[in-house]
Each structure stands twice: as C-alpha cells, then as structure tokens.
C-alpha cells in the first residue's frame, strides 16, 4: 500500500493503470495524433467537396471554408456536367465502368487459374524448349525485318515451327525450370514501368486498328494487374487444405470441376479482396489510358485532364464534381475491402 501512496501526479498521468491499458497521458497523445491525421486525410476531401459547390467567383475570390456561412453553395457545376454535358460525362463514366469491370473479371479468372495451377500442379518446362521458343521468335522478327513479310504471318509460322520442334526433339532436353521460377517470372512483370512497354503496345494496337477501343484498354489493364492477382492468389491457394481436392479427384471430378466447385468457393475471401484491389487499380489508371484512348474509349481520368486542357483554364468546380463521382464508388469499395484486410488476407502474401 505504501507503493500507491508514493505515486505523484506525474506518475498517475504517465503510468498505465493496468497491463494492456494506456496511461492517461499516453492516451491523450495517441488521440491527438490520430485526430491530427484524420484532419490531414479528410481536409483535402472536404475541400474537393465544397469546391464542387462553389461558383467561379467563390473559387477565385479567396478561401471560403464553410458553405452557407462563407458562401452560398450552388449546384451549377453539377448541373453543367449532368444536364448540358451529360453525354460526355456519361460516356466516360460507362467506359470506365465497362473497362474496369471486364478487365478485372478477365484478370481475376486468368490470374487465379494460373495461381491455382502453380500451387497444385508441378510444371517442368524444359529449358531447351524455352530457348527454342526465343530462337523461333528472333528468327520470325528477323524475317519480318529483312524481307518485309507480314508480322502476323511470321509469328504464326514461328509458333508452328516451335511446336513441331518441341514435339520432335523436345524430349532430348534434360534441364528444366520449376514452379518457383514461373511464379517469379510472372510476379516480376510488375517491376516493368508501364512506360517501357506502352509504346510497342500502342503500335501493336494501331496495327490491328484497335486503338481507342475498349478491347485495347481491357487487355492492357489485365496484363498490368495480372502479377498482383497471381501473387496474392498463389498464397491464398496454398493455404487451402489439399485434402478436399484430393477426395474430389478420387470421386472422379476433373481438374476444371475441382477448381470450379471446390477451390473457388473456398478461395472467396481472397478472391474478393484481390478483386476489389484490381478493380480500384483499373478504375484509377491514367498513363496507359493517355496512350491508348483518345475519345471513343476515354475513361474518367482522361476526361478530367482533358477538361482542364481547354481554353477556359482549369474549371476547378466541374473537375471537383468529376473527382467526387469517381471517388464515391471507390470509398464504398474501400469500406468493403477493409473487412478483408483486417482478416489479414493481404498480409499473408506480404509475409512471403
């Protein structure tokens, strides 16, 4: 009891009352910091929101902070975008939705199939076969370069020759690469800055007359996000007990059916988290869209930057409206995604 009497005020403030609880002083500090960071996060969002309600004079006249007190909010920017300009807005919005949804769907299905295969099936692609493929491709490119043969034809021929070679002399090769190498190869594609690959992709789509179409953006986004899906889903597939699949296979289910009816339902939490992540990445993508779309397949980020390139200068109010309609679905997704992240779905992959 003597110990308690000796406690000074300072002790009482900075010493935890019990194990696993915070001292009052610490608590004050923690909440003050959190409140400060809340302001840092929320203020730019608040500023976007009120700017969308301002008229040109209110924006240019100086800082006004609180609607109805400092300035009278008006819906003119909203009206302009949704009533007068609704065709442009609507087209970009639907483009964004279609492209983000379809590329996510494609990315998730291709990626989770690859992740499942890498987690469960042992691959042993022969080193020699890969070398043959590279040689065939180089030969094809050289032919196109030197003799001006149509590149689609040379690639088809190169693939055919490679296939025949693999069938005939492939079995003589001994050295092979393993699943880990394939996985690393797929994930390492994320290191590629998009700027490195986008110019040839641009020319490829130009050649195929697919520039400024949905397909171009969907395919490109799919490949850009594929490494993330493979990486996250591989880890998740590994955590699913293999016994269920084994018993399904004993009962005569095919691989595809096992995957569809047993693995996918079990992988739902991982799938959901990965889907949301990829969806958001595709939704926000900018630099690839700048290269690959002009007007027809224009997505919202492009609409925003195109809107500000006009002679009228930056239309802060309209831009804020567009940013808000872009943010709203994403915030909902963030709240959904938060549930999965707190379960540590994404953590597992990071831990390696």
């Amino acid at each position: 009891m003597a110990y308690i009497r000796k406690r000074t005020l300072l002790n009482r403030i900075f010493e935890a009352p019990a194990i696993g609880k915070m001292a009052p002083g610490t608590a004050l500090f923690v909440y003050a910091c959190l409140l400060f960071w809340t302001l840092v996060v929320a203020f730019p969002l608040y500023w976007i929101l009120i700017t969308s309600l301002k008229t040109a004079q209110d924006v240019n006249g100086g800082p006004f902070f609180i609607p109805w007190v400092d300035f009278t909010p008006s819906l003119h920017a909203w009206k302009e975008l949704f009533v007068f300009d609704y065709e442009d807005t609507l087209r970009s919005y639907t483009n964004s939705i279609v492209i983000a949804l379809l590329s996510t769907l494609l990315c998730i299905s291709v990626g989770s199939m690859a992740a499942y295969a890498l987690a469960r099936i042992t691959y042993k692609p022969k080193f020699g076969n890969i070398l043959l493929f590279v040689i065939a491709m180089i030969a094809g490119m050289y032919t196109t370069w030197k003799f001006g043969v149509d590149w689609k034809l040379t690639i088809a021929a190169a693939v055919a020759v490679w296939f025949l070679l693999v069938r005939s002399i492939g079995r003589f090769f001994k050295k092979s690469v393993g699943n880990g190498d394939i996985l690393f190869w797929m994930i390492s594609q994320r290191i590629l800055p998009p700027i490195v690959t986008v110019v040839p992709i641009y020319m490829m789509f130009q050649n195929l007359k697919l520039l400024d179409t949905h397909i171009a953006l969907i395919l490109t986004y799919t490949v850009v996000n594929l490494p993330i899906v493979v990486w996250l889903m591989y880890d998740f597939m590994n955590s699913i007990p293999i016994e269920l699949e084994e018993s399904a296979q004993l009962d005569g289910a095919s691989r595809l059916r096992t995957f569809w009816e047993i693995v996918l339902p079990l992988a739902k939490p991982g799938l959901a988290a990965t889907t949301l992540l990829v969806l958001i990445l595709a939704w926000n993508e900018y630099i690839l869209a700048v290269f690959l779309s002009t007007s027809n397949a224009q997505t919202i980020p492009i609409l925003v930057s195109a809107m500000n390139a006009g002679e009228r200068g930056i239309l802060w109010w309209s831009m804020c409206v567009v940013i808000i309609i872009m943010i709203i679905p994403v915030v909902f997704m963030a709240i959904l995604l938060q549930r999965f992240i707190s379960k540590g779905v994404l953590l597992g992959a990071v831990k390696g």
């Binding site: 696993g20 915070m22 610490t26 608590a27 909440y31 959190l34 809340t38 996060v41 203020f43 730019p44 976007i48 100086g62 800082p63 902070f65 291709v110 690859a114 295969a117 890498l118 691959y123 490119m141 394939i182 290191i191 590629l192 800055p193 700027i195 490195v196 690959t197 040839p200 490829m204 395919l219 490949v223 594929l226 005569g252 095919s254 691989r255 595809l256 926000n284 900018y286 630099i287 980020p301 925003v304 930057s305 930056i314 940013i323 872009m326 943010i327 994403v330 915030v331 963030a334 709240i335 995604l337 938060q338 992240i341 707190s342 540590g344 994404l346 953590l347 990071v350 831990k351 390696g352």
Partner: protein
C-alpha cells in the same frame, strides 16, 4: 455418373472423349492464358522497345521508318545534347563533392572486399559489382550536381522521389500503425478513414493538392499571408515543387504502408509484450526488442513493393507541375512520355530502358541484401 475407368474407350461418346481430352490437358489449360497474355503484352513489347531504343524511329502516315543507330540514343542522354535533361548540368565538382565521392568509393570497395573474404560465389560477386557500380554512379551524380551547386536531371529527380518519398511514407505509416495498434476506441473508423487516400485516383489527388497549395486562393492562404509568403508559389521554386509532389505522393501511399504494418502489428502475439510490461520494460524497449524484430520482414517487403511503384511515378508530376519549373520535377517516366509526345520514339524508349535498368538494379539489390536477410531471420 459413369467413371472413365469402368467403361472401355470404345463406348465413350464423342462428348465424353472430348472432356477426357480436356482433363488430360488441364495442367496446360490452366496456365496458358496467363503465359500467353504476359508474352504478348509484356515480353514482346519489352523486346520491341529495346529495338526501338537502338534505332531512330519516325511515325509516318500509317507507316514507320526505322533506322538502326546503335547506342546513339543512349549516348545523347549521357554525353550529348540531352545530358542536362537526363543527368543534369555539370560545372566541375566542388571539394565537398569529391570528399563524398571518395568516401562512397572506399565504402563500396570495403563492402566488396568483405564479401570476398567471408563467402565468395562468382554470380553473387558479379551482382555485387553491378550494384556497387550503380550506387557509385548515383553518388557521383549527386555529388557532381547537388553538392556542386548545379541542377540534376530526371534521373536525380526520380531517385529523389523514390528515396525521400519512401522514407517519409515508411516513417509516418509506421507511426500511425503503432498509434492504431494501441488499445483505442473506434479503431475500425480510423482504419477505414486512413485507408481511403490509397483508393483515390492520382489525378484527383494532383488537382486537389494544387488547390491546397495555392498561396493566394487556397485554404491555407491566410497562413501564408500571415507568414509574409503571400507571393510565394510552390510551382516556381524547384525544391518547393519537388517536396510538394513528394507530399502528394505520400498522402496517397502512406495508407498502404499503414494498413499492412497495422495488420502485421495485430498479428504479433500480445503475451510477449505483456510479459515485458510486467517485467517493467519501457515502451521504447518493448518496441525495440520485441515488436520491431517481428515487424521487420513485413516492413522490408512493403518497402520493396512501395519502391517498385515509386519508380513508376508519372501522373502526379504531370498534373501538379507538368514537370516544371523547367525540368525540376520531371520523373523519368514523364521524361519518356514527353519524348513520345514529340514523336521521338527512339529517345523515349531509351529513357524508358534506362529507367528499367535503374529500377531493376536497385530493387534487386534491396531484395537480395535486405529483404531476403530479414525473411531468413524471421524463419
């Protein structure tokens, strides 16, 4: 359902035979789409880009004119007319620059020497020589520009974004994660709120920060006026503009570091911390001796991912300052994009390849010397 083992092959219908065939090919079927997609949209462009980087490439009306020029495009970046743009302006090295360069060289030689002494593997040695050369090049670049009072080019700017941005994001992200890991009320609320910036489009962030940074009409203009900086503009001073972009980038990416570190912190078993608390350890001691070692593998991996993404930074500088003033905020991606826009495809590809080279060397170095070590310690 009849199983294929019980029926003889002759009695199978065509459909059954087809599904049998599909099942036998399943292992190929599962992985082929991903491999084909990556080959077509990643590997093929990578090779094509390399070819473009070595040629002069002109876009005509529906056709291309290609001419092989060898290393000319790279030469131009390093020694030619684009040197100021890519590397920076050189006007002799200051004494301080020499001191730093020589110190870095000695340190790297000592590091290589120690590696040869302790364990030697020729592939590891070659890798370490490449890393050492790149590091030395970076130090040389900054000593010859920053420490000698001249401006550095897009390579320096990119490295500035990566290192300063990542350090800032790691520091603040870890700080908030530690705060949120305390027994506080409303943890879910904070977690959702702090997570939101990551999901917002970089375009939106770029314009929002331009509004916030406005010293005459922005929300902080009273503060600027009061400090007597009313005429100051973030976009006209090189260092202010760079810091401004790092702040915007950090606002977006701190949540990423935060959310993963918080999940890692919550995964650390509480009993060790509580035992230490009972033994009278201070908060700092608990963090240093118990939390930090267990957090390190995750932290290293998060920083690796963050580094990879930071090298690609292009939309924020494009929106917030358009690379200006001059070239002060132009990242290498943006440099390459501007070159593409002026239809100089060879230059554009050359810069992109230089960016890829720097990214790969630095990320692989970080992975090999830091991340793997931490993961092994944890395992």
């Amino acid at each position: 359902m009849t199983t294929s083992i019980l029926t003889s092959p002759k009695r199978l219908t065509r459909r059954q035979r087809f599904s049998e065939w599909v099942d036998r090919q399943a292992s190929t079927l599962f992985i082929t789409p991903a491999v084909v997609l990556i080959l077509v949209f990643s590997i093929f462009p990578l090779v094509a880009s390399l070819i473009i980087a070595f040629s002069r490439f002109r876009l005509g009306a529906g056709s291309y004119k290609v001419r092989w020029v060898g290393f000319k495009n790279f030469e131009k970046q390093f020694f030619g007319s684009e040197q100021f743009h890519f590397l920076g302006t050189f006007k002799g090295m200051s004494l301080f620059g020499w001191v730093v360069t020589i110190a870095a060289a000695l340190l790297l030689i000592w590091w290589l020497y120690r590696y040869c002494k302790t364990r030697f593997w020729w592939l590891g040695f070659i890798g370490r020589i490449i890393s050492a050369l790149v590091f030395f090049g970076i130090v040389l670049l900054f000593s010859a520009t920053l420490l000698s009072g001249t401006q550095f080019g897009t390579l320096g700017v990119t490295l500035f974004y990566v290192f300063v941005g990542c350090a800032l994001q790691f520091g603040i992200g870890l700080g908030i994660a530690l705060l949120c890991a305390q027994p506080i009320r409303g943890r879910t609320f904070f977690r959702v709120l702090f997570f939101i910036p990551l999901m917002i489009t970089p375009i939106g962030i770029g314009y929002a920060f331009r509004m916030l940074a406005d010293t005459t009409k922005g929300p902080f203009s009273p503060v600027w006026q009061w400090a007597g900086l009313g005429d100051f503009s973030w976009a006209t001073d090189p260092w202010a503009a760079r810091i401004f972009i790092v702040i915007g980038d950090s606002w977006q990416w701190i949540p990423f570091v935060f959310i993963i570190l918080l999940a890692a912190l919550e995964n650390i078993p509480k009993d060790q911390q509580e035992a230490a608390e009972v033994d009278g350890a201070s908060g700092w001691q608990i963090f240093r001796e118990i939390t930090w070692p267990q957090l390190l593998p995750v932290a290293a991996t998060v920083m690796l991912i963050r580094m990879i993404e930071a090298f690609k930074l292009v939309d924020l500088p494009n929106i917030m300052t358009a690379g200006g003033p001059g070239i002060a905020t132009e990242s290498m991606s943006l440099h390459s994009y501007f070159a593409w826009r002026s239809l100089d495809l060879g230059q554009s590809a050359a810069i992109a390849y230089l960016l890829l080279f720097v990214t790969v060397v630095l990320c692989v170095s970080f992975f090999n010397y830091v991340v793997i070590g931490k993961l092994r310690q944890a395992a």
